[in-house]
Symmetry: C2
Subunit: 507 residues, 2 copies
């Protein structure tokens, strides 16, 4: 990253204080520092910090009480990694120029339509980590609701593609799938990829880790194998197996989007424009030519009504056409969790049960995977629905898809069986009735409080389904955790929200 | 502040690490902390921290490397002050409930009109410091541009008044003045207050410190006397002198506004609605009944065109009527700095020169003060313009206003003469021509780089005026600083922006 600085630089000696501020880049300087004084740096001033040819922007925290000596400087963990510095390295600090692209953000806030160049500049500055949380939040706010015209969503998507890496596979057809999130346990990718790959269609899948959910596909795949592959390693797997499931974060396909998403989650803002740009920029950057997008619809899913799903679907298609990706959207039931398990290991177990044709395999997960895989085949081979579905079912029933998943795992670094959690507690119903509603968001929260996804074995294992008749004392689900404290904590939260998490109607 | 927490609290022992993060409240806990693990706290999680009956919300930074031991906890300087903790005090941490008022912010972002209760809830949460920078920024963005209806500005103003303290003076008439900022050196308050007070009208003036400018009125008044008065001390001064000029920050007149303003400055967003609510909520909270508002107009002032000033003036009057404050607005020249000095001590010297009727006193500052003071008298006594102006001029010319300022200073804690800076450098013109434009913003920046307002003696002293004919080698201004580094730094910035700071036209 090349930062234009206004003035002379100053050298200070680095010493690690060992402070982790998550993704926020922080620089620590002592109150006595002559550079702070002469440059007029105050706490929270954003500075340029450089070492060995690379630079970053960080917010200043001032230390007193001898934590750092005059002439010393420290960085947060994220900034240390970014600059690859070690104790006693000499860092340079300098003022940063005001960001020109903020003018465009202000213009958007005042209701103007932005052009391609303006989106390019904003997104490049975000990708370069030049935006503070305050700036990011104002950009997200400016683009929220229905503030973006269709053409602007196209521009934003293009800008995100330009600001990241683009993978090339040298193949005419690259299949892909995506699910517009919000549904716990919906791990179809790990079933769809082996099916499609075993049919000879290339599907080099990059998946995400959980941001606010109890598991992302990358977290669940990581239970079975290594997902932290370099692009070179990923290529080898795909050359051999026609497919892979790896963590996409390291590929930097849309680095600006990775940053924007965190702020959107914090604000809990659903911006249709940002969501479309986020999904499609990553598909285009991953080199995908044909992609099926699953839109689960439900009161506590991301998309809440069929009307919203139709509107989203139309816009997705228009923007996809603009950037040259062939897509098909499908809507699906988003009223309850998918499969039985929620949390990486429990979800991985469900995936394996479906592919192994186990008698107790979750039927909903199997059916969802079949639908998506069939749609991909229809899309790339222009086949009739029934023919496509038969092909897919055959791949599962014959065990070929299972073998393919194992081969992919082995190519990625070896196959491991899911592990069990150390502690568990089974919840029994305190009332009788018919299950009329699940609150997906609160269910996800119970699983997270139990430790998912950091503790891969933690989570929830459901014993019941929507519309099922329940008796008093009937087991509803089991909570799994790796510490008694986390188990207790997840249980407490459940008890406090019991009636909203699983709603019973009495007939 | 009463925070509803979801779960059990945990006690941790406080140890001061001495880290200043400015107004941002940060809590430090070691990576080994059992509470972090059991509660699922991650870096940047926002927690409730309690001690001795008071609580605050702070963002978590995780420390490693033995900076803190298991069972220990630390806080940023701002959080330490807020909770009044000392080493070895036992603090409690807990999860916080999601903020309900964020739902209203999202609603506003989606284009809806908010009601009084929604503004009340948002502003109370902001005043309680429950909003992170991300949330604050989204609220500021939602209210930016022309997004607020007149009724919403009224609601926001009322909400700000309710969330702060309200001063009562037991007097029918409480005069006040305000300047819609952006003009360096515009220190009329220190001339107007003694004039009005000496006429027997009560004017208990609370002023602000600089946020991004080289001096606020409180900074300039502080050169001459103490401005950090408690409400009780302020009352004593006003009882004795009919007026005062104190720092308003400690009065907590509109604590939410103080927080919002910082984010607005960072975003450099001029939101008319927020500005009106900010100005008028503080006037109402200060107990003012009659207030003159000066709106300087100029390309680099806060209000840039006469049309904008008229529109702002109309809205100010409508909202003022709604909240029951009697106001008069005046527009003034905002094309160049006022007086000669910029920076606390230099501005204080100009103020004294006007009140002492010195031959070299800045005429523009004198005239502005006369205009504003006359408008106040017209407003409260319903007098003719000429009569009011004669009264005001008599107060200056007779030295009564000067004596009154000295008396007020003595009542506030003693009168001190302005001090001189240690270092100075006089800039001479490198070209001949007529001064056609000043860039107020860049001029302010030179003064700030020289050290103003923290170094009260630092700043700029102008020798020239707009439309003046300049010869090569003619002194334009002198930069004052308390260190050679700051002097050099301010000079460098000037040299790089020379042609924009003072524009010459050649005829």
């Amino acid at each position: 990253m090349n930062l234009t600085t206004q003035h002379t630089k100053h050298s200070l000696r680095f010493r690690d204080l060992g402070i982790d501020t998550n993704q926020e880049l922080v620089v620590f300087m002592p109150a006595s520092c002559h550079v702070c004084k002469s440059e007029g740096f105050q706490a929270l001033t954003r500075l340029s910090v450089s070492f060995n040819g690379s630079s970053t922007i960080a917010a200043l925290n001032i230390t007193s009480d001898g934590l750092l000596k005059e002439g010393e400087i420290s960085l947060s963990k994220s900034a240390i990694q970014k600059l690859s510095v070690q104790d006693n390295d000499l860092l340079e600090v300098a003022h940063i120029e005001p960001l020109q692209s903020i003018t465009s953000v202000r213009s958007k806030l005042y209701g103007n339509t932005l052009h391609q160049q303006e989106y390019d500049d904003i997104i490049q500055d975000i990708a370069d980590e030049k935006y503070s949380n305050i700036f990011l939040s104002s950009f997200v706010a400016a683009c929220s609701g229905s503030n973006m015209k269709l053409e602007e969503i196209c521009y934003l998507t293009m800008a995100m593609i330009k600001a990241g890496n683009k993978l090339e596979w040298g193949n005419e057809i690259i299949a892909d799938k995506h699910c517009v999130g919000g549904l716990p346990g919906n791990r179809t990718t790990m079933i769809v990829v082996p099916i499609i790959a075993s049919l000879g269609i290339m599907i080099p899948k990059t998946s995400s880790r959980a941001i606010t959910s109890p598991a992302g596909t990358a977290d669940t795949m990581e239970v079975l194998t290594n997902v932290n592959l370099s692009l070179a390693q990923m290529r080898k797997v795909v050359e051999k197996e026609n497919g892979c499931i790896v963590w996409g974060g390291a590929m930097k396909l849309s680095p600006a989007d990775d940053i924007i998403i965190k702020v959107e989650k914090a604000l809990d803002i659903d911006s249709e424009g940002q969501m479309i740009a986020s999904i499609l920029s990553k598909k285009a950057a991953a080199g995908s030519t044909d992609c099926v997008i699953d839109i689960p619809v439900g009161a506590t899913a991301k998309v809440r009504t069929v009307d919203d799903a139709i509107s989203l679907s139309l816009r997705l298609k228009e923007v996809a056409e603009y950037i040259g990706v062939n897509i098909q959207t499908i809507t699906s039931d988003g009223t309850q969790p998918v499969g039985y398990g929620i949390g990486p290991s429990l979800e991985a177990r469900d995936v394996l049960a479906v592919l192994e044709n186990a008698t107790d395999a979750p039927k909903d997960l199997r059916q969802r995977a079949i639908t998506i895989a069939s749609e991909i085949i229809k899309l790339v081979w222009n086949m009739e629905k029934q023919v496509a579905e038969d092909l897919v079912i055959k791949k599962i029933d014959s065990g070929e898809a299972f073998k393919k998943l194992i081969s992919i795992c082995e190519a990625q670094g070896g196959f491991y069986e899911p592990m069990h959690a150390k502690y568990s507690k089974t919840i029994e119903s305190t009332a009788a009735g018919i299950i009329s509603e699940f609150d997906n968001r609160k269910i996800a929260r119970v699983a997270k409080l139990a430790g998912a996804p950091d503790a891969a074995e933690a989570g929830i294992d459901f014993k019941v389904l929507l519309n099922q008749n329940i008796m008093i004392g009937q087991p509803l689900f089991t909570i799994y955790a790796n510490s008694p404290g986390e188990l207790e904590y997840a249980y407490d939260y459940y008890k406090q929200n019991e009636k909203q998490i699983i709603k019973l109607s009495y007939e």
